[in-house]
Structures are given as C-alpha cells and as structure tokens.
Symmetry: C2
DNA sequence: TATTGTTATACTCTATAACTATA
DNA sequence: TATAGTTATAGAGTATAACAATA
C-alpha cells in the first residue's frame, strides 16, 4: 500500500482524537453506570486502575497521582480493603509505608463494559472494502499494542 | 482490497474493544483530571453531556438517565446554573417543568483533553505501511461517523 | 527535621419525606 | 388524583487539618 504523502503518528493521533470525541459522551455514561452498579466512586475506581498498573504502589504515590490528600487515600483504601478489592502489604524497606495490591476480586471490576450495539451501528455505516481495511489495520494495531501490555 | 474471509461489524467491534481496553486506564485518569481541574463531579459532567445531546431535556429525564432522585437533580442543576454552565427554560406546554439547556460556557467543558504523547508512542510502534493503512481506514471511519454528528 | 500515614472534624453530595404548583 | 419539581433534613462519602510513628 502507498499514499501520496508521508503519514506520521501525529496525523493518526489527530484523526483518532476526532473519532474519539464521537464516542466520548457514551463512554462517560457507561463509566458512570459501571461505577453505580459496582458502588464505586470515580476515585475508588481510579485507585484500582493505578494499582493494577503499578506494583509496589504506596499511599503517597496514589495521593500524588490523584491529587488527593493522604487522609483521603487512607479512607478510600480502608473501604476497598473492607470489600476485598485491594490488600495492604508492609513495605519491608520502610516500616511507615505500605504497598497497595489489587486482589482478584478487584481485578474483575477494572473492565468497563462497552456499548456494543452502538459501536456496531457506527461500523455498519462503512462499505465492505472499508470494513476489510479497517479490520486489518486494527488487527495490526492490536498486535503491536497488546504486546506491551502485561498479561 | 480483499480478504479471504468476510469481515463484519461484529468482528471489528471485538477488535475495537480489545484495543479500547488498552487505553481505558489512561482515559479514566484524564477524565478524573478534567473533572478535578474544572471542579465538576461525575454526575455534574454527565448532566452536561446528556443536555448537550438532548434538546428539551427535563429534570425527570435526567433523573431517569442517571438513576438519581429528582431532588438530587435539583441540587446538581442549581449548582450548574449558579456557575452559568446550564440554563433553566420554561416548558411552554407544561408549566410545571423546565428544559435544561447547555450554555456556551458549559459547552467548553465537554471536551476531555487527550494524552497525545501516549497515543503517539502507541502509533510509533507501527511500520510505515501499517501507519498508512490505519490512517486511510480511520479517515474513512471519521467521515462516515462524523456525518451523523450534530455540528 | 522531614516523610508516611492515621484520627478527628468539616464539608459536599445523594436519598428520603413533605410540600407546592400544575396537569 | 397524578405528575414535575422544590425545600428541609439526614446519612454516606470525601476532603481538610492536626497528630503520631518512623526515617
């Protein structure tokens, strides 16, 4: 395949952002629904997400990431521990601090369900050739991206 | 372009969802940051989004969409009106109810900034040929999708 | 003394119940 | 009588400030 101009990542990012805007509103709605159903605040959910990506995550680190006070982190972690969604593990190198780890229960709550019906509707607007090309493109993208994900 | 099998929208949705998961955590973080910077709760932001998409939106409708009590909607709308992000307009056909409309100020807060640097990094993992193909695919998708958006 | 994190307190948000106005 | 929405109050969740323990 060849194009008459040089496609660079920036150009794709710009396109991606425009497309992303189209789905933004529904994404927010799905997220809010997911949080409500699982009785999670946005900050609690953010903690689960951060803890999932960072091993040896301390309260201070969470406070910095979320721009919350340490006391709020304590409160949030207390609730999550009580629900069995995270664990507190002692930091052997600093007896003041703890590491926050995601439990299996917590990991289950990370995935926000997609609104499949609406997505399908969007893709159905495409011609067959474009569908084919999009599929191939996304498959390549997935393979390159997922490689860097843990598990 | 041709493939040895028939690509249908479902297959693309599945791929899309897998890719989407990869960006999910950062998207949540960006949203949380956007809300914090603009002093908005998730429900307040949801109200702005719903009001943006639905003209003649009533309190009752918002309560149904967000699964909140009417009294909570009153509280949220009061705050947003006070900040000049939405207006309350009388419903000429039913003097009990009001329509909630987004103001220009409110519209400015709808867009959640993307984390461009991280996106670029993802796309930089692709070969030039794949970049070209992805670009073409997304451009077609954008043109088909955006057509159905208002403004 | 500086840093990590907790306890105590104040504030914000949401739910419930009682109420007003209109249909 | 039923419905749309508001007001008043209580409770849950979150943030702020003062404090204790460790570095």
């Amino acid at each position: 395949m060849s194009t008459e101009f040089h496609v660079n990542p920036d150009m794709i990012v710009q396109l991606y952002n425009e497309i992303s805007k189209h789905f933004s509103s529904q994404r927010v709605r799905r997220l809010a629904e997911h949080l409500r159903k699982n009785d999670l605040s946005l900050n609690q959910f953010s903690v689960l997400n951060i803890v999932n990506h960072e091993s040896e995550c301390s309260s201070i680190h969470l406070a910095n990431m979320l721009k919350l006070k340490a006391a709020s982190i304590t409160y949030i972690i207390d609730l999550l521990v009580k629900r069995g969604l995270v664990d507190r593990v002692e930091n052997p190198e600093d007896r003041r601090s703890h590491f926050i780890n995601l439990t299996e229960e917590g990991r289950k709550l990370l995935v926000v369900p997609e609104d499949t019906a609406d997505l399908i509707q969007s893709f159905e607007a495409l011609e067959q050739d474009d569908l084919d090309m999009l599929y191939l493109s996304l498959r390549v993208l997935k393979n390159r991206i997922i490689r860097n994900d843990k598990k």
